[in-house]
Symmetry: C2
Subunit: 460 residues, 2 copies
């Protein structure tokens, strides 16, 4: 990569990984961290640090960071909170650049003093701190999984920043099951030093990241966050789930993290100005991110719906209207093109109903007509499983068509086992497919919203 | 069953099933209908009718309905539209009561004349007509699957009425994958005779149906529908997905079915007065139905959230506030009970955070405390997968606890493979579990809304 060096580079592509508090005991966090780094296939040297052991997992184990023979840059710390500040000092003395502080027992349990001390050590010794109170960091392009979550994170283009540890780890497992690929996964916890803005700044220029998804409960420095977010949003979309939207939710946030959630309407307005897309919940956020991870950008507003079921066509039409997606009235030549892929009782108007008689061949023809025609900017494909059609063949066709065009495409497939299989194929090959028409439409609507905001940001 | 006889009884528990247009050719609708009836295990006689064959699937095949030796009541008709009216006459002459007219080619393609003729034959010969232009009917308690959809429909308590054929068949397959059980599945198509109101009336007294889910694009007789719906809603909830909510959606409906969708706001107001719950989309409708299928009724408003993750606790709290679910401030004795199942840094306030250290044992204890305490009326359980807890054991615990109490319970599980397995276990054993906190909360909110409306209906 030809980009300038950045203070957070060692967090994502370290030369080596040090694990302070590495353990031999399965079930311990210090064991999971080490085995994840090894199993996930990190290419550089890995140095376990623990005065109790000579070696762990066939690796020489060092009593302290200072005893490591080679150069260090990224250090994961999983030892009792009281001992962390001193270790930060040693890391700095040894030339380490970033410490991923897994340990809890700081501000989140009222030990503001200890967190302050940790931060002071970091500043004094030139060590940037991620955390404390986190489950780690993963960056799939470098096969780095320094978390105590699941091992087999899928490679992809979504960077996920999470303030909640439990939710983050649980979602890590969920993305594996759902075949959703991540570029990065960063647990920020107490955000004592490195915060969302710092990470966004780094991810902005990361060629492997096409969209940034943030779960946040509060922001430390709102002005800084919004300033960076504006810059990032011009280039790639940011999707935020902001918890603590209601009075009682805010109360829950402060009792949970000690951070102040702040007025929700203020957040919403500020997010919008910064080009940030706010999702109502986790499912929606990932729905949108899956579309954004294709790296496509909106080319315009005019959208067509191609369906083999009248009912889902109506549901999608409703959803388009509600979510302000402009449905194209197809010009005559396009209507003629569509008509050649449907029986006489089909409809070449929008929604384009190629009817329940359609196989993947008619779908392919109709979609290809939409791809080729300049008046169409976005394509929504709806499929209801029928006896005459093969959802897996259709999935394969759509994957190829999506790769062949810059026009954003989304699909909804409804049906049984074969549809579940087709959905997997599409997810694995980065085609944004959803279980309902509404979720497909809402994802496209988010992309178009981002396109509109981005234009406004560029003008300022 | 000791209930009075009803004209639609033969549709759901026929003595025999006649299939006019039964076929030997796999892939044909007349073949799928016959094999589904046989494979799904219908207990009475099955009579294929088709002049072309002597026998089909080892059953004697009759040239006409009139040649059948035994008594008939339910007749499925899958022959070209032009021939249907005459066959209705023969069915009536032979004593048949209900005809399920699969055939298309009537009003939906502009042949209003043929549909009128069909209806006249039905009236003249005393035969009630379901359809035409439908995929059939299934009633699982009697192992009746007279559809050309998937065979292995799961038994359960949700009755699903659908005006869209393609969507209905596709969802039929989807319910099998999702382990969602149905009591009945009825395709209504053109609703020439039997309409939603007739079906609701029958389902009201069906002991196997705990909730009725309706996908509709238009209502023929609004007054009749609302009158029946009011009566049904007092007893069991009705969830409606009404397509054609927007101007463009309505236009799509009329070009698709020829029926008039009508003003959406009028529908919403009328639904509310009739106690009907309106769902925004198919996923939401089934989310709600899954909770209703437990047969539980709301006992009150006060709700507690029990979670092992602070973040999801906040998300659920927000969702409760937005969806008007009243979160209980737990009285002191209950707080004490909760506290015994969490470390000191947990929270016994609501959301009750038993922390990431919780195993299924702590969950069980905390949930049991909520079940036993009178102040709690509803329980929301949130689980984020952790290394120390087993989601499958927790699922088993919750299934039992849900069976032991009349209090409505919902859960959200987030995580990897084991969570996917736990979700399956819960769905199979009729515990309402969802992939996000918001969907769990919204399902409970729908139940509480039904409870409030039901009270108002009772007063009128």
């Amino acid at each position: 990569m030809s980009r300038k060096s950045h203070p957070l580079d060692p967090l994502f592509h370290p030369k080596s990984v040090v694990i302070v508090g590495a353990s031999k005991t399965p079930g311990k966090i210090g064991h999971a961290l080490l085995t994840n780094v090894l199993k996930y296939g990190f290419k550089g040297p890995v140095y376990p640090v623990n005065p109790k052991y000579e070696e762990i997992e066939d690796l020489k184990c060092y009593p302290t960071v200072l005893d490591i023979p080679g150069e260090i840059d990224l250090v994961v710390v999983a030892i009792p909170a009281e001992n962390v500040p001193k270790v930060i000092g040693e890391i700095g003395a040894k030339g380490g650049k970033v410490a991923v502080v897994i340990s809890s027992g700081f501000k989140e349990v009222g030990r503001d003093d200890l967190e302050k001390e940790l931060l002071e050590y970091g500043r004094r010794y030139g060590v940037r701190i991620l955390g404390p109170n986190i489950f780690g960091v993963a960056y799939t392009p470098k096969r780095l999984n320094a978390t105590f979550g699941p091992t087999e994170v899928r490679e992809g283009s979504i960077a996920f920043i999470t303030q909640s540890g439990a939710l983050g780890i649980a979602l890590m497992g969920w993305t594996i099951v759902e075949k959703i690929g991540l570029s990065a996964l960063i647990s920020v916890g107490n955000k004592s030093d490195i915060d969302d803005a710092d990470l966004l700044e780094w991810l902005k220029d990361d060629p492997h990241t096409k969209v940034v998804l943030v779960y946040m409960e509060g922001v430390k420095d709102g002005r800084k966050f919004l300033k960076v977010a504006r810059e990032v949003s011009k280039k790639k979309p940011i999707v935020v789930i902001k918890a603590g939207r209601t009075a009682r939710g805010m109360k829950a946030v402060s009792s949970h993290t000690g951070s102040l959630a702040g007025m929700d309407s203020v957040y919403s307005a500020a997010f919008e100005q910064a080009g940030i897309l706010r999702a109502d919940n986790v499912e929606e956020a990932f729905d949108w991110a899956v579309l954004f991870s294709t790296g496509k950008v909106p080319l315009g507003e005019e959208t067509v719906i191609i369906t083999n079921g009248g009912g889902v066509g109506v549901l999608a039409t409703d959803a388009c209207e509600v979510n302000r997606i402009k449905l194209l009235d197809p010009p005559e030549d396009l209507r003629e093109a569509f008509s050649s892929y449907m029986p006489p009782f089909g409809s070449a108007r929008n929604p384009v109903d190629i009817t329940g008689q359609a196989t993947h061949v008619e779908f392919e023809g109709a979609v290809e007509s939409a791809i080729k025609h300049d008046s169409v900017k976005n394509i929504i494909v709806l499929y209801c499983q029928t006896a005459v059609s093969d959802p897996i063949k259709l999935a394969e066709v759509l994957v190829e068509q999506n790769r062949s065009t810059e026009k954003p495409m989304v699909a909804s497939f409804i049906g049984g086992e074969e549809v579940a299989e087709a959905m997997e194929i599409m997810r694995e090959r980065e085609f944004p497919a959803y279980p309902t028409p509404e979720r497909a439409v809402k994802a496209l609507a988010a992309m178009l919203r981002w396109g509109r905001r981005r234009k406004l940001l560029d003008r300022v």
